[in-house]
Amino acid sequence: MARLLEMRGISKGFPGVRALSDVSIVLDGGEVLGIVGENGAGKSTLMKILAGAFAADSGEMRLDGQPFLPRRPRDSLQAGIIVIHQELSLVPDRSVAENIFLGHLPRGRLGGIRRTALNRDAQALLARVGLQVPPQTRVRELGIAQQQLVEIARALSRRARVIVMDEPTATLTAAEQKILFATMAILRAAGVGLVFISHHLEEVFETCDRITVLRDGAAVETRPAADWNETALIQAMVNRPIEALFPGRHATAGEVVLEVDGLGCAGRFSDVSFSVRAGEVVGIGGLIGAGRTELLKTIYGALPASHGRVRVQRREARIRSPRDAIAAGMALVPEDRKAEGLVLPFSVRSNVALSTLRRQSRLGSVIVRSRVDRMAELAVQSLRRRTPSIRQPVRSLSGGNQQKVVLGRALTTQPRVFLLDEPTRGIDVGAKIEVYRLINSLAEGGGAVLVVSSDMIELLGLSDRILVMRAGRLAGTLSRNAFSQERVMQLAALG
C-alpha cells in the first residue's frame, strides 16, 4: 500500500544558505511524526515546502503514491494538507462557525450565508474535535487552546489528510495541552496523518509514534519514539555532548547586589522575594504564564509594581520606568528580541546607542557621530567572534547576531544587575555557547545575573541557583546540588 505522504530527497537553498539538503520523510495515515531540531535546522522550511509556500530546488513529493507538486499554498490546501502555525489565523470578531468555514462559507441563492447549514455543519465538526462551545460564539471569547481546536476543525472542514502543527503548545497551559493532545488522538484514530513540531521534548515523547531529528538542514535520524531517550535526542540535535555546551565559570559570590522583597504586580504575580549576589547566576524556571517575564519586567520598571521593594547594592531603588532602572544599574534583555529589543530597520550602531544617547552628545543634546561609532565598535567587539558591520541594518542579521546587538546595548550602561529573559531563544547552538560565555564573563566581572529560561538544559547548565515560579508565586528555590529536571518540573507544575 502506498504511504500517505512521502517527501524524498528534498533540497532547498536560499541566497547564501543551504536550508535543506536531501531530506526525506514519510508519513502514514493514523500516525504522528515528531520533527525536532535546533532553530535553523530546517523544520519550518521543510513544512513550508509541504504547504506550497516554497518550491523545493530538488526532490519529489508523493501523496497516496501520486506525484504531488504544489505551486502555491492553495494547491496544498486543496490536497488536504493543513499547516497550523503558532500564530493562529482566526478572525477574532466572527463566530466560531464562520471561522471554520472561512473561505468556503455555504452560500444561498442570493449570495447570503446559509446560517442554519453553517451552524449545523460547524456543530458536527466541533463535536469531532471535542470542543463544546456553541458555533455562534465569537472566537475572541475563547482561550488559546480552544482557538486551536477551531483551527483544527477548520482543517477538518477542508477534508484534511495531513495536519502539521508547528509549535502548537508554546502558548498553552497544561490543562489546555491535555485537550489538544486528546484531539490529536481522535484525529489519529480517524486516519489523519499528523506532523508535530515542538521544542518541548517531553511532549514529543508523549504524542509521537516516530521522531525525526533535523540538524543543519539534513534529516539526521528517524526512529520510533520508544527507541529514543531525551539525552540521545539532544545529542542528535546539537551533535556534541551536552556538557560541552557550558563553558566553566570562575566566579565567587560576593556581596548582595539585587534584593527583591515581597514584590508583586497586580494580576501577574505576587509576594516574590529573593536576592542575588555579585558573581551569581540565578535561573528562573517555570511554565509559560507562571509570571517569570512579568517578574523581570516589574523589577525593571516596565510593568508597575503593586507592592514590594527592590534594592540595588543595598540602596532602595525607586523604579518607575526603564529609565530609572537603567540609572540604578540594571539592564534588561527582553524575551522578544524583534518586538521589544530592537528597532529592526535601524543600523547596528543606532540600536547599540539607544540607551546612551545623552552620553554620545555635546551638551547632552547634539549627537557626536564619531563617539557613537566608537562606542558601537567597542560594544560589538566585546562580544567576540564574527561580528556584523555597525552600519548594517539589524533586520538583515541572523538571530544570534541580533541578540548580540541587544546584549551589546545592555552593556553600554555599565550595569551591575542583568535581567536576561530567554537570552538564547531562537538562536543556533554556536551563538548559544557565545551567549553562555558572555553570561559567565558578566558574573566573573561581579555582575548579578538573573536568567529566565524555558530551556531546561540551559537552566540547569548555567545557574548557581534556580528559582521556580508557578502561577504567579515563587514555588521554591533549588541550589546547585539539588538540581534536576524532575525537581524543577515538579515545582513548576505542582508547587
Partner: protein
C-alpha cells in the same frame, strides 16, 4: 555562526522565495523611493519650464515660494509627528483657529509680538491637547487629531461668529506678506524653520529619540528612552508650527477667516510622504519633506498656469497622495516585517 537562517527570519505568513520578486512591484517601489523625490522635482520643473513661458519668471517662482511657505512650516511639524509613527490631522483647523485668535488680539489693540505669541500659544495648546490624549490617555493620534480638527474649526467659528477678522497693523502683515529684498519674509521664515528642524531631527538626541520611538516604541521604552515625553513634544511642536502658519496666513491676507486653510493637512501629509517618510514611523527627513513641499507647490502652480479646471486640482492632489502612500506601503511589504 552561519549566515542568516531562513527559518528564524521568516514569519508564519507564506512568502515566495525572494529571487522571484526581482522585477516585481516591490523593487519598483524601492527604486522610486530614494531618487524619485529629486528626479520628480527636476522633471516637473523642466516640463513646466519648457511648456509654459510664464513659469520661469521671477514673479512666478517667488509666488511658488510664498505659497509653499505655509505648507512647509506645517509640514515640518507633521514630519516630526509622522516619524514617531503618529499623524496630526488637525493642523489645517489649528492654522485657522490660531489665525483668528491672533487677529482678535490685534483688533483688541494687542501689540504685534503679543498677537504672535497668542497665535503660537493657541497652536501649542491644541497640540498639547493631542499630546495629553495620546500619552496619558493612550488614545490613537488619528482619532484624537480628527476630533481636534473638528473642535478647532468649530472654535474658530465660535470666537468670530463666522465673520472674517481684518485690518491688521503692517508690522503683523509683513510676517506673512512682506518682502526682505526680493524674497518673501514668509519663505525665509519657513526656510529657517526647515534648517533648524533638519538639524534637530538629524543631529540631536531628541531627533534620535523621535526615530527610535517611531521605529519600535516598545524597544525604545525598554532601552530607557522617554517615549511619552518625546511624543508629547512632537505634537506640541506640530501645533505651535500650525500656529505660526496661522500667523503667516493671516498676515499674507491681512485678514483671518475661520474657514481658512481647509484641507491644508492633506497637503502637508502628502508633502511629508512624498518626501520619503513612512506612515508606519521610523523613517523620514526634513530635506525630503522640503522637496515634497516644493513638488506640491510646483504641481499646484503648474495646474494654475495650465488653466486646469479647479475641480481637477483637488482630484490630482488626491491622486498624488495616493501614489505616495502606495509607494510607502509597497516598501513596507518589501521589508517583509
Amino acid at each position: 555562526m552561519s549566515a542568516p537562517s531562513p527559518e528564524t527570519g521568516i514569519t508564519a505568513v507564506p512568502a515566495a522565495p525572494p529571487q522571484d520578486r526581482r522585477f516585481g512591484l516591490r523593487s519598483v517601489g524601492r527604486a522610486l523611493n530614494e531618487l524619485t523625490i529629486v528626479v520628480g522635482f527636476v522633471g516637473i520643473s523642466l516640463y513646466l519650464a519648457l511648456t509654459t513661458p510664464a513659469f520661469l519668471t521671477s514673479a512666478n517662482l517667488l509666488s511658488i515660494l510664498l505659497a509653499s511657505a505655509l505648507i512647509g512650516i506645517v509640514a515640518v511639524g507633521e514630519t516630526f509627528v509622522i516619524v514617531t509613527g503618529g499623524i496630526d490631522l488637525s493642523v489645517g483647523s489649528v492654522v485657522a483657529f490660531s489665525g483668528v485668535m491672533a487677529g482678535l488680539a490685534l483688533n483688541a489693540h494687542a501689540p504685534v509680538p503679543l498677537a504672535v505669541l497668542v497665535g503660537l500659544g493657541i497652536g501649542a495648546l491644541s497640540g498639547g491637547f493631542i499630546a495629553f490624549a495620546v500619552t496619558a490617555l493612550a488614545m490613537s493620534p488619528f482619532i484624537v487629531s480628527l476630533a481636534v480638527l473638528a473642535m478647532a474649526r468649530g472654535l474658530a467659528f465660535i470666537v468670530t461668529n463666522g465673520n472674517t477678522i481684518f485690518s491688521f497693523p503692517d508690522g503683523f502683515d509683513d510676517i506673512g506678506g512682506g518682502n526682505l529684498g526680493p524674497f518673501p519674509v514668509a519663505a525665509l521664515v519657513s526656510l529657517g524653520v526647515f534648517l533648524l528642524a533638519g538639524l534637530v531631527l538629524a543631529r540631536t538626541v531628541f531627533g534620535a529619540e523621535v526615530y527610535a520611538v517611531g521605529g519600535n516604541r516598545e524597544a525604545a521604552r525598554l532601552a530607557g528612552i522617554p517615549v511619552n515625553r518625546t511624543l508629547a513634544i512632537v505634537y506640541v511642536v506640530s501645533g505651535a508650527l500650525a500656529g505660526l502658519g496661522g500667523i503667516i496666513l493671516a498676515g499674507r491676507l491681512d485678514s483671518a477667516q475661520p474657514i481658512a486653510a481647509t484641507g491644508l493637512e492633506l497637503n502637508a501629509i502628502a508633502a511629508v510622504v512624498i518626501g520619503g517618510a513612512s506612515l508606519f514611523g521610523g523613517k523620514g527627513s526634513m530635506l525630503g519633506t522640503l522637496l515634497g513641499v516644493l513638488i506640491i507647490g510646483l504641481i499646484n502652480n503648474g495646474l494654475t498656469l495650465k488653466n486646469v479646471q479647479p475641480f481637477w486640482v483637488q482630484f490630482i492632489q488626491g491622486a498624488v497622495i495616493f501614489g505616495a502612500v502606495l509607494i510607502d506601503s509597497l516598501n513596507q511589504k518589501r521589508r517583509g516585517s
